[in-house]
Amino acid sequence: MKQGFRQSMAWLHTWSGLVVGWVLFAVFVTGTASYYRAEISRWMQPELKREAQVTPEALAAAADLAVVHLQTHAGAARTWFVTLPTPERPLVELFWRNKPGTPPGHVLLDPQTGAPAAMRATRGGDFFYRFHFELNLAPLWGRWIVGICAMVMLVALVSGVITHRRIFADFFTLRRDKAAQRGWLDAHNVSGVLALPFHLMITYTGVVTLALMYMPWGVTAAYKGDQFAYFAETGQITKARPAAGQPGTLAPVGPMVGRALATIPEPLERLTIVNPRDANSTVVAVFEEPHGLSHEHPQVAFAGTSGDVVEVLSGGLKPAAKTFTTMVGLHEAHFAGAALRVLFFLCGLMGCAMVGSGLVLWTVARLPKAGVATGFGWRLVHALNLGTIAGLPAGIAAYFLANRLLPLDLGARAEREVWVFFGAWLAVALVGLWPAPRRAWRGALALVAALFVAVVIVDVATARALWDDPAWFLGFDAALLALAAGFALVSHKVARFAAPRRMRRVMEAPAAAPQMGRA
């Protein structure tokens, strides 16, 4: 800070990156996995049989069955959410909010019979999706922690760009035969710089997805804090219809579904039914986004007791609101087709690599001389690095294994899968306490590779008979094998890079890494 602008930014980059690096790594990994949230959910429920198409009549019938179930099991709830069947996922998913303080309800139904669907209980890809911004904590805590870390990441990105005088040259530089520290520095630079537009975009738009929670003061000043009024005025949601306080009877929902489908030419995603037993109940049909970047769901609102249309929302956002929904759309990448989604996934992996290599670089740049004991700080960072970078992928592999191996009729099965995830993560994190850091890295990464191979073997052995599309499941398994190969390769490289002879060379020439060395 006394040494000039670039040095102060190098210092800021090093320490801001270190402090939040572990959380960011977890956020990047689970966020990258969330690009394939639907696919992960499908893989984790192999009992599900897809259908060629779902007709409008079938959708209307499924909506009526859903309401029957909700009236029996969730009569007191304030809001019902009904996700209707699609060819990819021919299920009715119900979710309802009870009084504050009581947990929400959730169930999957067979759209033909209305009975609970006969499938293994799992949180599937949704677990990664929620973890990505809530870290499996209480939602408010998790969202604030992730938001703060994302802001620090923005600072680390900006200060990292300022730190790099030679940002374009670094783009093409990977000196893998020089000292280990150089190798890690270059790996950090390449993964950081090559996908820099993606990193900046994904971090900023990520904060924007929860913008009104983090920065509510504009709405406080202009709307006296009424976020519903703000969202309705921007045209993102239909206007709120307050409860009348008198009981009312919900009209049949099937005909409303039919009318909504005739109004909007997009696939129907879900129904939201607000105050279902009130005289002023509202049914909102929410459609998928039309083709394009913007995260902008067309909606048709009905008066619940009469079934009359009260509002239709379809496009026509003003520029700022359009910017906002486009940023959210860019973050979620729902618009991306198969090829573009692969590119987003690879950019996400680059983000994981950037955070991971940055964390490792901190320890490599501060390796003590041969024969000198490592300090507490170094050992702590090393243990947290290994615990996160190898521990989280091990947890993911164990979560997949639990999905195939836990008994199908086990009580609280979905929660136990999550326990296995955290148990495996913790177990691998303990490896970080092993006194020989290099061997600990090598062993932990090899273990991750072995776990992913085990997932594929167990999948083929136990679930093969259930696959409705063997090529699809084999493709998913092949992706897991590619991950396993990646971890095996890094495990092998760690052993090679951390060879004692190379380490000594780093220590003899500490001036070799002036750009982002110790500050």
Partner: protein, 107 residues
């Protein structure tokens, strides 16, 4: 670069972290509230624009705090900015007779 930072250096760094987080959020929050009320566009658009910009404002403040020559100088810059924004906001809310301060418990 000192090997073992003195207590004074550590305190100065801690001070900057607190100033960057607290001051950065305060300036960003005040700027969001002020722009939400003053940008020449429909109310919903002004709020959206101001909120989208707020995070860039905060990152800029953090960079300024850590790049400033001394902690006192950084505090003076941030304090001055917050004061100007706060006074401007006070005038705007007064003239619009909205009343309640934007930073505070929401109703």
């Amino acid at each position: 670069m000192t090997r073992a930072p003195t207590l004074q250096v550590r305190a100065a760094v801690a001070g900057r972290v607190v100033l960057a987080a607290g001051g950065g959020y305060a300036v960003a929050g005040l700027a969001t509230a002020l722009l939400s009320l003053t940008l020449p566009m429909p109310r919903a658009e002004a709020v959206t624009t101001a909120t989208l910009l707020s995070f860039a404002v905060m990152v800029g403040i953090v960079v300024v705090v850590f790049a400033a020559r001394s902690l006192g100088r950084a505090a003076a810059i941030i304090g001055g900015l917050a004061l100007v924004l706060g006074v401007a906001l006070w005038f705007v809310t007064g003239s619009l007779s909205i009343g309640s301060s934007p930073i505070g418990p929401s109703p």
